[in-house]
């Protein structure tokens, strides 16, 4: 099995530890992912703004970087959603379809492909509030959404429950958007920041010490809000917790 690691631009620039944790975590399960050197971004910032034409070259580059692998694994539900559901600015060749169909978020890869049953090296004796990125939640089905009637499930919580010491806390609005929304955070700063402030308060009210998510982008935004409000929350990517990283 040839697996490539995709490190999204946010993670590359701001949260390199997340990429390192994802790499180490996959190795713990006997996967030795390659890191294609010319990778940059999935194209979501442009596509999210409607600018598909402006995203085409970035999407082509993504496919060139990852076409030769059986799986592409990314520590991001949102970027995975972009690749799987929205990478349509370029002609849909066999190569493009192969990449789109075989790109997985690390939560899905562990849960659905590797079907892991434990993280014996990990211990995290903290109260954790899990944040579902909306694209991960409703876009690629990380968890069941509260608006739909049906069986409740959550892949990330399934994984976190395998980590010794983790105590999951419950927010009053479990899957309300945090207001990041990609370029929404720039073009609608008032609502974006307000939503972020409300989200951070909800984590606090729930008694969380740590906010854990599969998406660094939402956490970048929430971290900025928490810092502004003077709220002492700590933020970690789920790959870090599963890898046994200590904060």
């Amino acid at each position: 099995m040839r697996v490539a690691l995709f490190v999204p631009c946010y993670v590359d620039a701001f949260e390199p530890e997340v990429g390192i944790a994802a790499l180490q975590l996959l190795r713990r399960f006997g996967i030795d992912p390659e890191y294609p050197f010319d990778q940059t971004c999935c194209g979501q910032p442009m596509v999210n703004s409607g600018c598909h034409e402006e995203a085409a070259a970035t999407e082509s580059l993504f496919v060139r970087n990852f076409a030769e692998y059986d799986y592409v694994v990314a520590p991001s539900g949102s970027c995975t959603h972009q690749v799987r559901c929205h990478m349509t600015a370029i002609p849909q060749t066999d190569e493009v379809r192969h990449v789109r169909e075989n790109t997985y978020d690390i939560v899905e890869f562990l849960h659905d492909v590797l079907k892991v049953d434990g993280f014996p090296w990990a211990e995290f004796p903290h109260r954790v509030s899990y944040h579902d990125n909306c694209n991960a939640l409703r876009g690629i089905g990380h968890s069941s959404a509260s608006e739909l009637r049906g069986e409740r499930y959550s892949k990330p919580l399934d994984l976190l429950r395998m980590v010794k010491g983790v105590e999951l806390v419950e927010k009053s609005r479990p899957d309300e958007c945090c207001g990041f929304g990609g370029t929404f955070s720039v073009f609608e700063p008032a609502v974006s920041a307000k939503m972020g402030h409300d989200k951070v308060r909800d984590h606090m009210q729930a008694g969380a010490e740590y906010v854990v998510s599969a998406d660094s982008s939402c956490m970048l935004h929430q971290k900025g809000c928490a810092s502004r409000l003077g709220v002492p929350l700590k933020f970690l990517h789920i790959a870090q917790v599963l890898n046994g990283d200590r904060a």
């Binding site: 631009c9 530890e17 070259a57 970035t58 409703r138 009637r149 207001g179 810092s227």
Partner: protein, 525 residues
């Protein structure tokens, strides 16, 4: 966590609820068993605050210039009493909706059926409209056709003029908001009285409805007291909901009893019977329809459904989705004029046929105007309906509004985080957030998203598609903050830091770490 949200009554953390909202019991609407009534009107939670905060007004509309939603939203958020109340009130409706959903095992099948009924009707709309017209005429209803809003307004005025009618009472209708009927008729010398309480408040305040189901939901009771004091002569310091409602009833009821004509909308028009159905909670549509001798119903052509039996699906979904109540207090079926009376139906297109021809957006015509997408929308709840500067606000508005004025509403599809909650609550399964996403694509392809945004995206695309440019852009930590992700933290609008702190840049990027260590995870960053 979210696996637990089965609609049980949970205590919210105390300070997430506005403190004024839980200060005391209002002695408000209660049933015989002493329990607070759970329907919309019984659920007005008191603020009881002594501090009066001025009501933030809506978006500034300047001709065809794009609406600045962020500007209006910022003013709404800067009025914390209003914003908090608005968010809590609508979130409460969303939670009630969830409880109704959990009480109905076949909920998702109902949504699917409802979607198919509406889709089938829209696909065969011409036939069903003709069938409706023929059956309605056979029932003794006068049927009129209006191509656009102006034609509708003229037809309504013509009917009123024919009868020498001077005063029109009306129930809630988003369609007549679309057509600007109120102002038109007033300019023609017709006195128009809204009979829905929320709409009456909005009329007295000369504001459009901010929500398609609960039109004055953005107002505090102190706002209402102020308006009533000015317009109805009530006590400005008495904010008691019952006092205000009773005063309004006393002042408005004589106008209703004396009216020359009544106008309603319709929630559904049934082709096989030529009948139409109006769902309200206040019974005001029945007053409007039944008190005066002349009843006019303005109906958008997308309101058609084939059979009475289809109501069994749609009515079950409508109020549960809208207000989280099993059904509206009144579900009135109108078949024809009563003895000595006259009934007119105006079937209105006003852009609907054109929308039906839009491949990406035609299914938005399935909308039954329940407002569930607005109640669940985290952006709507925080910005208020008037911040959209349009007849339709919230998620469904972002799809509909650009079909009315593409330039003025070109910014609205960006007033969304694309979180997808709207799509999940929609009782007729409109893929709302995907259509919002598609609008962005359509507008960008036409270069209608604003030059700043498009230039930023072009620059981002150029950097992100060239590994060397990308690497050099983020090579140094401080330049990473300046350039990557340029579309977020160092955007030319400099908007990130308005409510958030900047992220700290790490000593080295992942790429630099990998280059330095060869991916040896024992050598940490």
């Amino acid at each position: 966590m979210n696996t637990q949200d089965q609609g049980s009554e949970r205590q919210s953390p105390s300070d997430l609820i506005h403190p004024e909202m839980q200060r005391h019991d209002d002695g408000g609407a209660r049933g015989k068993d002493g329990q607070r009534l759970d329907h919309a009107e019984g659920n007005s939670r008191p603020l009881g605050t002594d501090a009066s905060e001025a009501q933030p007004r809506g978006a500034k509309v300047r001709g065809h210039r794009p609406i600045d939603h962020n500007e209006a939203a910022a003013r709404f958020i800067a009025a914390p009493e209003h914003q908090k109340m608005h968010d809590e009130r609508l979130w409460d409706l969303r939670q009630k909706r969830d409880r109704q959903m959990h009480a109905i095992p076949e909920w998702e099948e109902l949504r699917d059926l409802a979607s198919r009924i509406k889709q089938h009707t829209l696909t065969n709309l011409a036939e069903y409209l003709e069938q409706f017209e023929a059956n309605a005429r056979a029932n003794g209803i006068h049927v009129h056709w209006a191509e656009d809003g102006a034609a509708h307004n003229r037809i309504v005025h013509g009917i009123l003029a024919d009868h020498g009618a001077k005063r029109l009472i009306k129930s809630k209708s988003m369609l007549t908001e679309e057509t600007g009927m109120r102002h038109y008729l007033e300019s023609m010398g017709i006195e128009l009285v809204e009979t829905d309480l929320g709409e009456r408040i909005q009329q007295l305040d000369d504001e459009p409805p901010s929500h398609i189901v609960v039109p004055a939901t953005h107002k505090l009771r102190s706002d209402v007291a102020g308006i009533f004091a000015e317009k109805l002569g009530t006590d400005p310091d008495n904010w008691d909901a019952h006092y205000l409602a009773e005063q309004q009833r006393e002042k408005t009821r004589p106008l209703i009893l004396d009216a020359d004509a009544g106008l309603t909308g319709a929630n559904f028009a049934v082709a096989e019977t030529g009948t139409f159905v109006v769902c309200t909670n206040e019974g005001n549509a029945d007053l409007s329809a039944n008190v005066p001798p002349l009843h006019i119903a303005s109906i958008g052509i997308e309101k058609l459904i084939p059979r009475t039996a289809d109501l069994g699906v749609l009515i079950r979904l409508l109020s549960r989705s809208a207000l989280g109540s099993p059904m509206t207090q009144y579900t009135s079926h109108f078949r024809g004029p009563r003895d000595g009376g006259e009934m007119h139906v105006v079937l209105v297109d006003n852009g609907r046929s054109a929308r039906l021809g839009m491949e990406e957006f035609w299914t938005s015509l399935k909308c039954i105007r329940c407002g569930a997408c607005m109640n669940t929308c985290p952006v709507y709840r925080r910005s208020g309906g008037l911040s959209y500067g349009a007849t339709y606000s919230g998620p469904i508005g972002l799809i509909l509004d650009p079909t009315f004025d593409k330039r003025r509403y070109s910014t609205l599809p960006f007033a969304s985080t694309l979180n997808g909650s709207c799509t999940n609550v929609c009782p007729v399964k409109i893929n709302i957030h995907e259509q919002i996403f598609t609008w962005r694509k359509v507008l960008a392809a036409e270069h209608s998203i604003g030059a700043t945004k498009q230039v930023m995206m072009k620059a981002a695309g150029a950097v992100l598609s060239h590994p060397k440019l990308y690497r050099s852009a983020i090579a140094a930590a401080d330049s990473a903050l300046k350039i990557l992700p340029s579309f977020v933290v160092a955007n030319p609008l400099n908007s990130w830091t308005e409510g958030r702190d900047m992220p700290e840049a790490p000593r080295e990027t992942f790429h630099q770490w990998y280059s330095r260590t060869g991916g040896d995870t024992e050598t940490k960053a």
